[in-house]
Structures are given as structure tokens and as C-alpha cells.
Symmetry: C2
Subunit: 343 residues, 2 copies
């Protein structure tokens, strides 16, 4: 039976079915070439990037030279640039502002590795430390209302052409629509229930088990109840915390372990598909002291991972109404049962 | 300069820029083969489809035989099926219901034509008449809260594999998220301004001229101010009307003329790209007599057309924050200036 399921946070209804004539709805194999002889992100080519903003250099080496383990640089052709004024204005009935913001690349390895799944867990820890440092720094600027992190693997687009593993930190003067919907949805739920919606999801999924893919002492990984996309996965901290950047660094090894495991399971179960993930944290409260007052109670940082779908349906583009051809219960079972070394 | 622009209806901010290193962000050429020897949608193969729901048969021929000009049939592998009960229920904190609804195909030509742009205007008129008949019929069922129409050309997906021109009419027991956002946004605007937001858009675009692609006595075609996608086009009736199906049939020739012109301009300017369009009309008010009371004042039916973008950015998937690499002013100029025969 096909069912319509409602996302408990944002209220989006999606169709979930296992009954469609089976065609693969996920892109298989990376679209970007794995090797790259003149890769500007490899150690030794530091001069090919804009000057670094941050690096982890245990040997005390100088900025913009080899010796780093993780390195953060401004994006080459940034869609948004720091500095200047927002210059909010009208064009008669319309509203616009200058596109002020930041766009940084977190280079995830000094060696040329394409899929983050193939990095050791210790390197995941360093990447999370870099995310944390940069988020803390960016959130000191009250003009940057939203800071979010995402990573694309194996896909090519306007801003994505390098196969060397890297993630993006984007800070914007407005809150992107889907992120705002998460905050608003979580707030509505809290106002009604006096509980965090994500904490409730964690509790229910642990109890029901059928959508859990993996778990450890600090995190769970689930196929969400109202998955928009086939084999979508969320990683949620068990303990409530609005902001990733304020979460305890001692939990990072648990996060590294479960994220690496999930990326390996996706790689094994779905033939190394291109994927995106996003790390969603709370809004920047700097300079907005009353910001929604209860946002720290309402919201719960987490990671969402999606293997990239083949062409969307026309109605998905047009209406935001999604058709998922793999129910999360089926996806969770497949991802849980696939054999991956070490997990 | 890149600008952040706010959609005047739904409030979504998008980045619009002409400054990115130019790569083509639109898929070129159809992905689906044009010919199809055993096409189930061609005249003569009526037995290959489910029995017809509606047809335009000027010769009075029998249902499910040749002689039709436009024919409407249930979709082959419908994601949603009419009948039964919604059975709204909970799975602890989650909400779900059975996937009741309808999914119909409007076959746009008895001959095997792939791109609707290549049909004569008279055939567009017949397709709009079929849309209207089916919408009026579907909206007599109070369980079907939303009826929307879309068409995909040249793209392949789970539900899309036939190259013969056809469009889809989908009726659902819930209002898809993006459509609800249009209704809510239009209502907020009306509450504040006591005017329809789409009427204001029509007036401003006629005055400013720079985003107009074409216009006639009844309709205008524009590149919208906060375009999410490169070369997005909206067709708006000049006269306020909430519902397409209640708009005057005598206006259909004007609609046929401007839609055919726009599809030809897109084909010529962008190398015959795959595209989607959607026709958005008001909600089904049947059985919901008080439905938002002012919705007839608030909302304004229209068509949105989008050439299909190449891969979305990771942050577009994750955050609903779009990067458009062709400003609507540039897109409007290009689409306006390309030569197409007869327009």
C-alpha cells in the first residue's frame, strides 16, 4: 500500500511506496573523475587556493604550506563575499539586498581522496573540529544570520567540479527557506507539547527499531518516517542540543564513527552513489538576543544525508510534493543488512 | 553584482547573478528518444491504455477507438488511485493516511509529437478545454483538496517514460507544500495590501518592461523577479481569477498563443531543452465552504515553466536556497530577442 506520510517537523506530506515497478531512482556511480593530476586541494598545491582561513597543523608548519591535516579556504568563485553593506532595498513592490555572505571550503584530507567514506575516523574528528571552529567564528558576525554546512560527493554542478573531498560552509544574511521551516516547525511542536520534536523522534525510533540503521552511545542513524528521497538518512544526537558548535567535542568520535559507517553502508548498498549531506545547527543568535526566546529548547542539531535521486518528477519540481519509491522501513533494512568491513 | 531577491509570494530568498564563470546550467536536448514504434498513446493503440475518462471527438466516434483529438486516461502505474477511504491515522507521534487520489494523463495529440511546442495553437485550445473539464469534474469530490496539472518534456523519471506529448492531472487529499505556500503567501499579501499579489506583479512588470518576454490582450509572460531557476517563465492572466477552470473559455486562444510562443522561444534559445510546466489553480472549495473565505480574492491562477536545470547544488537540495546563474532581466532579453517563426 502506498501511504501519504507527514514530516513531523515541517508538515510536508510525501508519498511513500514500495509498489512501483522497480526502477533505480538513485544515480549510480560518481559523475566526477576520481583522479586529478593538478588538483588545487592536494597538499603541496597550497598556492593554488586563496589564502587559508584555518588549518589543523600538528607540526606547527606555516600557513599555506604543506603539513596540514584539514584546511579551510574561501571558495574560489564564491557566490557570496564577505564585507560591504547588505543594502536592503526595494524595487517597487520587490525586495532585494546585496549578496553578502561567506562561502568556505573545508578540505578534508591532504591526500587526494574522493569519497569521505574512505577517510579514517580520526580524520572525520578533525573535520568536525574545523566545522566547529569556523561556525563559532562566523557566528560572531551578527549580519550572518544562518551558517550551514554541506557536502556533495560524486556530482558536478556550477559550484562543484573538484573530486578531492571537501565540504562547504555557507553563511548568509537571510535564513534559507527550508532551514527556517525546521525552526518554525520545531517551535510549533514545542509550544504544543513542551518537548523537542527531534527528541521525540529519537525516543520513538529507538522504541520502534524498524527505521534505525545504526546507533551508539551518543547518536542514532535512521531512515526518517516521511523520507522525501529514496534511502535518505538522518543522524541525530541522543542528547538535546540546539547548536552543533556548542556540542561537546568529546562526542565527536561517536559522530565520526556513525557517519563513516553510514557513508560506507550507502556506498556498499547503492553502488557508490553520489550523495549530499547537510549539517543543520541553530540560528545565529548574536545581536538578536531575543531570537525566538525558546529556540535553544525547540531545535536540535542533526545531519541529513541523501543519495542523489535521478530526475525528479515534474510535480516534485513544481509542487514540493515528493514521491519516494523506497519506504524508509525497506531502506533501513537494506542499509542495516549490507556488510561493511569493521561495522 | 550578485543580489539576494525575495519571492513576493512565498518569501523565498534566492541568489541571482550574471557573474559566475559561465557554464550551461540547463540540460540540453531531450533525454528521451523521440520515436516510439509501439507508442501506447498514438491513435490506433487505444487498447494499450486504461479505458478513457474523457475525449474530444468531433466526429462522434466511440470511446477507446480512433477519431479523438485529445484523450484523457488514468495513468498506467498510478502512484495514487481513486476510491477507498483516506483512513487518516497515527503511528505514535507520526501522521499518515492511505494514498488516495487520482493521476490522469492528457494525451495532447493523436499523432506522435514529442514537444508540445510543435503542436498547432488550435490543439493547445483543445488541451486547455480538456484540463478544464477534468478539473471541474475532479473538484466535485470534496476528498480531493488539490488538483494540479503539470507537463514534463524530454526528461525521464519513475513516472515519465513516454515521448508522446502528454500532461498530468493529479488530485490529492492534501495540499502539496509549495502550493499551500502560494495560497498562504497570497493571503498574507492581501491582508496587508488589500490587493492580489499577482495582480500587483502584472502591473509592475507591465510598467517596468524589463522582465516581460511577451504579452497579448489577456496574458503576459515574464521572467519572475526572484527566479529560482535559470530561464524560468511565468504566464499570468491580466485579469484576476482564482481558478483556471472558472476562467472564460473565450480567453483560451490567447493562452494557447502565448504558451506556444514561449515554448518555441525556449526551444530556440536554449537548444531544445527538457522542461516542466505546472498550471496552478485555486484550492478545491467543495465541502469546505468557509475555505479561507477570501481565497477567491487572494489567489490568481497562472502557469510556471522551467527548463530543467543540470544538477542542483548541494545546498539547493539541502536548504531550499537557490542559486540562479542567469538573472531574469538577462533571461527575458534572450528569450524576447530569439527569432521564432510566426511570433
Amino acid at each position: 500500500m502506498s501511504t501519504l506520510r507527514r514530516d513531523p517537523v515541517v508538515g510536508r506530506w510525501v508519498i511513500n511506496t514500495d509498489e512501483l515497478e522497480k526502477r533505480t531512482s538513485i544515480v549510480e556511480k560518481p559523475e566526477v573523475s576520481e583522479s586529478s593530476p593538478e588538483c588545487p586541494l592536494c597538499a603541496g598545491n597550497e598556492g593554488s587556493t586563496p589564502p587559508e582561513l584555518f588549518a589543523i597543523r600538528p607540526d606547527g608548519s606555516s600557513p599555506n604550506s604543506p603539513g596540514w591535516e584539514v584546511r579551510v579556504v574561501p571558495n574560489f568563485s564564491a557566490a557570496m563575499q564577505i564585507g560591504g553593506e547588505l543594502n536592503r532595498r526595494a524595487e517597487l513592490m520587490y525586495d532585494l539586498m546585496d549578496s553578502i555572505g561567506t562561502h568556505e571550503l573545508v578540505i578534508g584530507s591532504p591526500e587526494h581522496v574522493s569519497n569521505m567514506a574512505d577517510l579514517p575516523e580520526s580524520q572525520f574528528n578533525r573535520i568536525f573540529s574545523a566545522y566547529r571552529q569556523r561556525m563559532l567564528d562566523l557566528k560572531t558576525n551578527p549580519d550572518l544570520r544562518s551558517v550551514f554546512i554541506y557536502k556533495s560527493y560524486g556530482t558536478e554542478s556550477l559550484l562543484e567540479s573538484l573530486s578531492h573531498t571537501h565540504s562547504h560552509i555557507v553563511a548568509t544574511p537571510v535564513t534559507p527557506k527550508s532551514i527556517k521551516e525546521q525552526y518554525v516547525g520545531a517551535k510549533k511542536y514545542f509550544q504544543y507539547k513542551e518537548r523537542c520534536v527531534y527528541c521525540d523522534i529519537v525516543r520513538q525510533e529507538i522504541m520502534q527499531k524498524k527505521r534505525i540503521i545504526s546507533s551508539n552511545a551518543k547518536f542514532i542513524a535512521i531512515a526518517p518516517f516521511a523520507s522525501k528521497y529514496s534511502h535518505e538518512v538522518w543522524i541525530l544526537p541522543r542528547t538535546h542540543n540546539c547548536d552543533f558548535e556548542n556540542s561537546p567535542e568529546k562526542d565527536f568520535p561517536y559522530l565520526s564513527s556513525i557517519l563513516k559507517e553510514i557513508l560506507l553502508r550507502i556506498k556498499a548498498a547503492l553502488n557508490n552513489p553520489p550523495y549530499n549531506f547537510a549539517l543543520f545547527s541553530g540560528p545565529n543568535k548574536k545581536g538578536r538576543e531575543g531570537y525566538w526566546k525558546t529556540i535553544d529548547q525547540d531545535y536540535h542539531w542533526h545531519i541529513e544525508i541523501m543519495p542523489i535521486p535521478k530526475n525528479l518528477e515534474g510535480f516534485e519540481w513544481a509542487t514540493g510534493f515528493y514521491l519516494n519509491d523506497t519506504t524508509p522501513e525497506t531502506a533501513a533494512q537494506k542499509l542495516r543488512e549490507v556488510k561493511v568491513r569493521g561495522y
